[in-house]
Symmetry: C2
Subunit: 214 residues, 2 copies
DNA sequence: TAAAAAACCGACTGAGTACTCAGTCTAATT
DNA sequence: AATTAGACTGAGTACTCAGTCGGTTTTTTA
């Protein structure tokens, strides 16, 4: 593996576990076998390592979220909300390092004085909230989700799910045991209570099944 | 103001805005007018300052939550859930410094090797989740809230509300505009859908109203 | 194969860190 | 007025940190 890649990998690991400030260049040097000088040959400074990680996070994760949007196959928007929650938690678990970096102070501190960083964070969060918003909008069109404010409902859903990432990161609660209840709570929060509306739209689409298969 | 108190106040301020690690003793010294030696006269080390803040947080906030529990006056448990959300967000705004300290990495890192710190965090979070749990339990007894898992529902509610603290802290979203929608979402998530149950229990208590007045 | 370019090295620097300590100041007590 | 004790001081200490620099090795190009 190229030294540059090794440095990025180690930095992602250490920044997420120990935080940006608490990770020293000496530590990265030792972990990668690269001399400290080599790190500064590849990256202008420590901050630039962090920004590179954030850029990679956007470039890695955004396509995965977009691919998910294109590939998912569900009956109703309400089912898709459930899928979206699952997908978010799944991504947060396989990319744990990257997600927990977003729960640190440093990126937001950096964003205050660094437009690129702010832009990166904005585009990452936009994609996160969008998968919920799209699911909710779909549900509102097919009648499975009530007429609540779409974007705000998406944010509330995101708030719920994102806390789970925090709970896991800090070992506050066993989030696995909350999973089913969270899905159920999300459904109750969003589902349409008016059956008239529920029937009208699916008929016009020719979709007939009311049960979904996973 | 006594130097010791000034140091604690400044430390709370700086730890919450800049983080524990990024706050230097020189900074605290400058902000309080106390010499660096004075800080170490009052506190064994930097960590001890943090633990003192955490102890005060528990001692300040817990009684306020308990007073709230004793004083609140609502019709149904579902209304009380709404009150609890309001109260939590209110406390988080008037004690912003203390709440944002709980969203940092340091306390959880310290908790791993420091039983007192872990104990402090646990008792703080217990009180937080308890106000929601008590409201939900009350609602389940008066029939306004459905038969969902009490503790888990409380945690999901807490997850939702606690994210708002994070959103505000990092300037991610304008949480004021989410407030009403969050209350409404919380109600839909919890309310009882079975009118039979809604009537049965209040009857046995001698309470007759099935509609609530806000 | 020679020259040029890119990658890499690690000792070094100076600014900053938490913390110490010998001693001063203040205010109450004797 | 003398004693005492707690509050306070700030220069000093040992150490860590991100970042530099002169030089060496490896790879690519000609």
């Amino acid at each position: 593996m190229k030294k540059r890649d090794a440095i990025l990998q180690a930095a992602t690991y250490f920044f997420s576990r120990k935080g940006f400030k608490d990770t020293s260049m000496a530590e990265l040097s030792k972990a990668t076998g690269a001399a400290e000088g080599t790190i500064f040959y590849h990256f202008k400074n420590k901050q630039e390592i962090f920004l590179t990680i954030l850029r990679n996070l956007r470039d890695d994760i955004l396509p995965e979220f977009e691919r998910y949007e294109a590939e998912k196959n569900v009956n109703t928007g309400l089912d898709m909300v459930e899928e979206s929650i699952s997908f978010y938690l799944y991504m947060a678990s396989i990319k744990e390092d990257l997600f927990s970096i977003l729960h640190q102070r440093y990126p937001y501190e950096l964003a205050e004085g660094n437009p690129e960083c702010r832009q990166l964070l904005e585009s990452i969060y936009e994609v996160f909230v969008d998968i919920f918003e799209n699911a909710i909008r779909m549900g509102q069109q097919d009648g499975s989700i009530g007429p609540w404010h779409t974007r705000k409902s998406a944010m509330i859903l995101f708030a719920m799910v994102d806390s789970m990432v925090r709970f896991r990161m800090y070992n506050l609660y066993d989030i696995a045991s909350l999973y089913n209840d969270m899905i159920a709570a999300g459904r109750r929060m969003l589902e349409n209570r008016n059956p008239a509306v529920l029937k009208r739209i699916p008929d016009s689409d020719g979709v007939v099944t009311s049960d979904r298969d996973v």
